[in-house]
Amino acid sequence: MSTDISERPDGMAAPANPDEPFLVVENLTVKFPTHDGLVQAVTDLSYTVERGKTLGIVGESGSGKSVSSMAVLGLHDPKHTRLSGSIRVDGTEVIGAPEDRMRKIRGNSIAMIFQDALTALHPFYTIGDQISEGYRIHHRVSKGEAKKRAIEMLDRVGIPQPNRRVDDYPHQFSGGMRQRAMIAMALVNDPQLLIADEPTTALDVTVQAQILDLLQDLQREFNSAVIIITHDLGVVAELADTTMVMYAGRAVEYGATREILTHPEMPYTWGLLGSIPEVAGDADVRLIPIPGNPPSLLNPPTGCSFHPRCPHVDKVPGDLCRTTLPDLLPGDRGENHVKRCHLANPGEIYTEEVLPEIAPDLIDPETGEMIAELAAVDPDEI
């Protein structure tokens, strides 16, 4: 198990602990004061990522995925953001760190890949200029050397004729190539942590697979920690060692990816699984959308924030779902799989009610029972 979700006493925050994972996020809360009120973008979020491992963060738009990872880089405007909790990068506290120190971390030990490379790359500077700029900020090298490094990186991410393409502008690249260039830019300083914010969302499916392969190769090569933010469970299944599902700014389920995908225990995760179209599956199988809209973060629902959309509220005794926020606690599957849900027997409900609806292929047509071998499918094959 690569992650550690247990609470740490505050005293351990200050000195660099050699046993501590590369990134430790503890009780991170991000609030944005606006004219309409306080937006609770992220609430009480804790996770860890070790070198060479990948964490997948899954959730709908506005669930706090990007906000929490931007906080790791300190990219929020301090005037318009209230941050609390602790983010430690290689033992160094990031929250409240001075700008100068954050700048040394940004793009150097932590780099970020953004969603839409067309808007995330500067339209008026060449690809080469933008990559070598990142290199020269953190290394004392000449322009010529930095350009050589840029060409090397473009070659590494699979851009053909990098010598020539290095002088192209972003609009002269195709979508997939732009994303490759973006990755080259992020990796130019050999970062120990790479945050990929929906790196494949804006791309064609075939290109998506190439980019994911590339990310995996590069991770193996550089042994960096990776956080991949996505709303696509397929991406998570492909890349992530551990997965965190976020809803309304909170973690609602967290554990090994295989665990989360095969034995989900939170109705929101079931909803996500039910919303994935299956290529090889039966064309008659309905996609089951999650009803309703993501909640307002200005005025989050009382109790469990998922209760207005949850089809299983009546299985919980009393008004618990509406009144009390469930804690992030281990369920039936052991210490390393935590979920935020009041349901007493989620495993049973999942196999008996949810699975037959979202994946009838996994149910034996004769006996009406779940085929265990199929349901416990290897995440690499999903």
């Binding site: 700048r103 971390i105 953004f114 995330a120 500067h122 700029e133 609009h171």
Partner: protein
Amino acid sequence: MTGFIVRRLLSSVLVVILTSMFVFTLFFKGLGDSPAVNACAKLHNGHCNPEALKSIKHQMGFDKSLVSNYGTWAKGIFAGRNNVYVDGKEYNCPAPCMGISIMSGNTVFHDLKQKYPATVTLAVGGASMYLVLGVILGSLAARWRGTSADRLLVGSSLIVSSIPFYLVALLSWIYLSLQLKLFPTTGYYPITQNPAKTVAWMMLPWLVIGLTNCTSYARFTRGQMVETLNEDYIRTANAKGVKTNRVLFKHALRAAIVPVITIFGLDFATLLAGTIFTERIFSIDGIGNWGLTALSTPIDINVVSATVLVSSILVVVANLLVDILYSFLDPRVSIA
């Protein structure tokens, strides 16, 4: 690129020709034969008889049609004209002939060459002042948007733009030049003879043009910068660890400046075509003042036509230059 420039040049030439026809027609029809009547009265001490008037009309071409008169005028620009009569005197007008100025008795082109350096000096100085000041102020206001300094800038630009320009020019002349004698002399001193003196004499007019216009440039730049600072590529630059000032002045300003330059190109052309108030109030002997004087009685129609022609050429050329410049400023724009 060449094709684009050729096509644009052709359409520009068309615009200039149409403008000249329009202006010529307006004044030719509007004035009627009054220049001939004026000349006749002047020559005969107010006792103009029909015989003399007829001969003067013939000399000045008023017995011919509008089209024929325009033809003579237009041909003169390329080929020059002989036997041009003004107030009964015969003049020789070599190409480019835009006629003879009634005021000075020189060819219009001769006067134009004399007046232009003043206007160009005024425009270049004033425009660079408001461009540089405006862009710097606007960028800083965007950097500290929402603070009291930002509000002060936005507020002051509203105040400045609501005061008529001539009032600012007049008051600053009265107080800074006449009363306080901070800028004792204003006007144009030939820049080739003594540049220091030129700067000293021009400083107040430059400041007036620069400061009154810089607020609107600051606001425009601020708006563009605020928009640009919200772009994804600015977030990327920050995520790379780029320093704040470099993000602001390299990444953001590089994108925000493009529309500012577009507006500037057109504004600058208008300035070059003559700033009537500034030149009048600060007694600068430039195009604007010249054109204004030409409008007093008797109207110096050749001077007026020449100033209009030159300013239309300037605006058209500025438009063309801005379009070409655009393709250098924004690599996504290719003109073909």
